[in-house]
């Protein structure tokens, strides 16, 4: 479905306004939950790891630990899970409702390809929005870690920032952007597929929405494992 959506993207008519509307709904609309998730994840990482680091006298490495964990893993995965819950469910429910109320059939009857009109703009919007949201979550997460470290544990601000700067590598940033690109394809394809495959009225809409969220969440986590390993091999960090 994703391949078909991309192939048909380059044929007329182009659905630019739909893409912009979806980027607004998916990207801007998810901003609040992503910022909150990032901030408190960074904060709780500091809260949970500081006592252990203190045992080994390694408090100076707190920034590195928080930043690495966020950029490599928690930022991409938590963002993807939050977007799955908020956007994946909405896409599946919206398309499912359109199926049961015959709006998809009407669209096809009026000579419009639903893959191009509905699926492609959502996939493109996810591909653009999720990496940006992930980068934002990483930055806000590190900020949350810094606030907690300086306010609760009196770690000098410069020490935390230096530790972050020394700890993050280009490979981490590349991995942190590649992952959300793959996750956005997973979320978009599963949500659209489940939504358009809805059968059985309003009960069916509920079923396909649940399936979309569960499947996308699990596949994101499984894909994360293989992506982490693949990126290590490709970037030579094993």
């Amino acid at each position: 479905m994703a391949a078909r959506a991309f192939v048909r993207l380059f044929k007329r008519p182009y659905y630019i306004p739909e893409m912009i509307a979806q980027m607004d709904a998916i990207g801007v609309g998810s901003l609040t939950i992503i910022l909150l998730t990032g901030f408190f994840t960074g904060g709780v990482l500091t809260v949970q790891t500081y006592p252990t680091l203190k045992t080994y006298g390694a408090q100076s490495q707190l920034g590195l630990l928080v930043a690495t964990a966020l950029v490599r893993e928690l930022g991409p995965v938590l963002c993807a899970l939050m977007v799955t819950g908020r956007v994946g469910s909405a896409i599946s429910a919206e398309l499912g409702s359109m199926v049961v109320s015959e709006q998809i059939s009407a669209m096809r009857a009026l000579g419009t390809d639903p893959i191009r009109k509905l699926v492609a703009p959502r996939l493109i919007a996810l591909l653009v929005s999720l990496p940006l949201l992930t980068v934002l979550a990483d930055v806000v997460g590190i900020f949350g870690g810094w606030v907690t470290a300086t306010a609760l544990y009196s770690i000098p601000s410069s020490l935390f920032i230096t530790s972050v700067r020394d700890g993050i590598t280009t490979d981490d940033i590349i991995g942190g952007v590649v992952k959300p690109l793959v996750f956005s394809l997973i979320i978009g394809t599963i949500a659209c597929r489940q939504g358009l495959g809805t059968e059985g009225g309003t009960v069916g809409v509920g079923r396909s929405t649940t399936r979309a969220v569960v499947m996308a969440s699990i596949i994101v986590i499984i894909a994360d494992y293989f992506l982490a390993k693949a990126l290590q091999v490709i970037l030579g960090t094993t």
């Binding site: 008519p13 015959e102 709006q103 059939s105 669209m107 096809r108 009026l110 000579g111």
Partner: protein, 300 residues
Amino acid sequence: MSTSNIPTISGDDNSVSVNAAGSTFAEVDDLERAIPAIEFRNVHLAFDDRTVLNGLSFRVMKGETKIILGGSGGGKSTIIKLVLGLLKPDAGQVLVNGEDVTNYDEGEMMRVRKQIGMVFQEGALFDSLSVYDNVAYRLHEQGIPEEDVEPEVRRMLRFVNLEDAIDKMPNELSGGMRRRVGIARALIGDPKIVLFDEPTAGLDPPTARTICELAMKLRDLEDVSSIFVTHEMNNLDYLCSEYAVVNEAGDVIFEREGERLCLINSKVMMMREGNIIFAGTDESLRHAEDPYIKKFLRGH
């Protein structure tokens, strides 16, 4: 056909215009009109083990309204989906304007669908679009400039008597208004084939009558071929016993068969469990001896 060979019929008090006679003969002999608008040839379709259509064959000629009657689950709506290519038959052929569309892919079907208007059971209006945008949908998709779209949308909304609702959203409309907007949307671009999927189901009798009047106007004034799927007998009564004409004041009026000599271009087909159990006129349907048909007509 040339009119020059048509003999002049004249008389002092009873003359027939040569031109009128010529145009009538030309219409009958027009080869284009001899090609059915829709034709099914031995169409079979099954979902899993359940047979939905069992070797269905029928034709809808140009300008004809084919009323398809039958109980729920008899395969009536499936026929419409097959015409539009929303479903594909397991065997047999579906022809639209003489073109075999059975094995067309989605891209080829898009071209065929542009010639067909479809009225869905509940209207199937796009919730996120206003009445104007719903009706203008096909034209917007074709990239037609807005200055050309608006008059066309207003003309269609006038046709269904809903010009006042142009800026409303679908959730502000009643069930009957939604169907009428659905009809306006289906008719934009003047398709010569219109498919009605139970357009009066669940509507009050006056609104149902309005929908039937729209179908009659299309048949008698616009020369549209249509399939009208229904299980309501009053639809049959309207469509088979009345016709639309324009009176001297320019208004569309509906007259009953018998008041004038006329030929109402409606045919009836009754389905049961994927088979055609009756095909003909409404009069012959009412005289049919089949117990299922009798029960269907009487309601008990």
